[in-house]
């Protein structure tokens, strides 16, 4: 029995990631066209960008060493303002989120409450905190109060949504058992629902505190107070060494918070 040599392949090729050749080639050609268009229409002033390189060097040089001493008072002010803002907006946001979250859980609330609470959540999730902050600054004036309002609204969208989803996923048999003892609505919530969602909710509030601190570093750029405002001022005065110090402080606090929140969440669960 003789078999032609060509029946046994002597080479092998990796199978492509996308199987259909038509789809594969249209994606490749499509992205090539898109990239060409994007680069063609991007209005980049390369001369200005090249000018920026020495500035970039100066900026990086400012990190060695950063200047912690010259504006220490202002920096402390900004940091504390950010921390206060993060704490208050987390507390206020969660306080508002609990009723909304209860209302937005399908297994607790009647239909019209459900729809109303879901639309509140949807509304507060629509825009990023920074856009909320712009409007809050317009309404409440410059300062941490505007940042506090913006972050609280952001917290509602995050916390109430997750709370509602968690309540919808509880173990119904425990809730039924409490109901069978003749518990009223409050007792039912307090002894059947709350213990089941509490560990995760504590973890999430620490996580949200972490997010709110990060965001509080940003709302200051549009006038919402906090360390962001200090950072923006430092940039506007070309005090790069102070800006570098502030950035390092922000990174430091964020890292500490991230570790603590991760650790706390593991410990609670």
């Amino acid at each position: 029995m003789s078999v032609a040599e060509s029946d046994f392949p002597s080479s092998w090729k990796k199978p492509p990631f996308i199987k259909s050749p038509l789809l594969r080639w249209s994606i490749i050609i499509g992205s090539a066209i898109y990239l060409a268009l994007a680069f063609g229409t991007m209005d980049v002033d390369w001369e200005r960008a090249a000018e920026g390189l020495p500035r970039g060097k100066r900026f990086i040089a400012a990190f060695f060493p950063p200047n912690f001493s010259d504006n220490l008072g202002v920096m402390w002010d900004g940091i504390f303002e950010s921390i206060w803002m993060a704490i208050i907006s987390t507390v206020a946001g969660i306080a508002l989120s609990v009723p909304i979250g209860l209302g937005a859980a399908k297994n607790l609330a009647p239909n019209w409450v459900y729809l109303a609470c879901r639309s509140i959540i949807g509304g507060s999730r629509t825009f990023p905190e920074i856009i909320l902050a712009i409007f809050a600054v317009k309404l409440f004036g410059f300062g941490p109060f505007a940042g506090f309002v913006a972050l609280s609204i952001g917290t509602i969208g995050f916390y109430a949504k997750l709370l509602a989803e968690d309540i919808e996923n509880i173990n119904p048999s425990q809730a039924e058992a409490i109901k069978a003892t003749g518990a009223g609505w409050w007792q039912w919530i307090n002894y059947a629902i709350q213990p089941q969602v509490m560990p995760r909710m504590i973890g999430l509030s620490v996580y949200r505190l972490d997010i709110n601190f990060r965001e509080s570093a940003v709302v200051g750029i549009v006038g919402g107070g906090g360390i962001g405002a200090t950072l923006n001022t430092a940039f506007e005065r070309y005090e790069f060494d102070t800006a570098a110090a502030i950035l390092l402080i922000i990174i430091g606090i964020v890292m500490v918070l991230e570790y603590t929140s991760g650790y706390l969440r593991k410990w609670v669960q």
Binding site: F80, L139, F140, V218, I251
Partner: protein
């Protein structure tokens, strides 16, 4: 859950007395912190402006309606810029994220010191918000889409590399071993053993981050980094409220469309 003996018989309580006291103490401390924090904020607030806010809100709200639909003709270019900032930023981020992720994953890192450096890159990229990256880059490169694109890129590196290296650490080792048994070199093991396993994750991360980046690039213009945020801050500064509401509508629809696209694509990949 203790039973407490009283003259009238045992009474059920949720917690023992000591635990209840500890809890009360904890709440007291929390309350003190909150009160102090509130004082910190309220000292810096001009309450007259806060009382005036409802009137202001009604005023601005009234001025925002109806949105100026004719303004759309001037918004197409900023929207296209926003799209480019997000997409090119994601592409840059993915290019940087791949080597960083391979250096950060336990099973592919060449050396523990390299791993520490890679983890440091990931953490520092993640802890600085894209708006702050943009603020810095606008000072370096001048206002425009370039600063925005690089800001988005630098910000996304940490996110993409983190998810990717977790994906690399979770691969099936038997496949890599099988490739190794054929006599493949380390590079070949990488290409034929690891890459095909993480490619779907990689594509998923890219699309996921692209969706987030669309949201972020809409606001980068606030610090001058191009895109639709530039029009937004311009319109707010000139108090052109009908334009502002139009821009907000456009941002909203961009975000919804990008969310839909990313959900579709990720559904097709996974």
């Amino acid at each position: 859950m203790p039973l407490i003996e009283t003259p009238d018989g045992p009474v059920w309580k949720r917690r023992a007395t000591k635990e209840t006291l500890i809890r009360w103490f904890f709440w007291l401390i929390a309350l003190a912190v909150i009160a102090y924090a509130w004082k910190g904020i309220s000292d810096k607030t001009i309450w007259f402006f806060v009382q005036d806010a409802p009137r202001q809100a009604a005023d601005i709200g009234g001025r925002m309606i109806p949105p100026k639909f004719s303004y759309m003709s001037r918004l197409w270019v900023p929207v296209w810029d926003t799209l480019n900032i997000a997409t090119l930023g994601t592409v840059i981020a993915l290019f940087i994220a791949v080597p960083v992720a391979f250096a950060a994953a336990h099973n592919t890192t060449p050396h523990p010191i390299v791993r520490t450096i890679a983890i440091f890159i990931i953490v520092s990229s993640r802890s600085v918000n894209s708006l702050i990256w943009a603020l810095m880059l606008v000072f370096i490169f001048g206002p425009g889409v370039l600063a925005g694109t690089i800001a988005i890129g630098l910000r996304s590196v940490g996110f993409c590399a983190k998810l990717l290296y977790e994906g690399i650490e979770e691969i099936d080792h038997t496949q890599v071993e099988a490739i190794e048994a054929t006599g493949a070199s380390r590079a070949q093991q990488m290409v034929f053993g690891i890459v095909p396993q993480v490619l779907p994750t990689f594509a998923g991360i890219g699309v996921f981050r692209w969706d987030i980046n669309i949201r972020e690039s809409t606001i980068l213009g606030l610090v001058g980094a191009g895109g639709i945020g530039l029009e937004l801050s311009g319109s707010i500064n000139t108090l052109a409220w009908t334009q502002v509401s139009m821009i907000l509508l456009v941002i909203l629809s961009t975000v919804i469309v990008s969310e839909w696209v990313s959900a579709k694509v990720r559904g097709a990949i996974i």
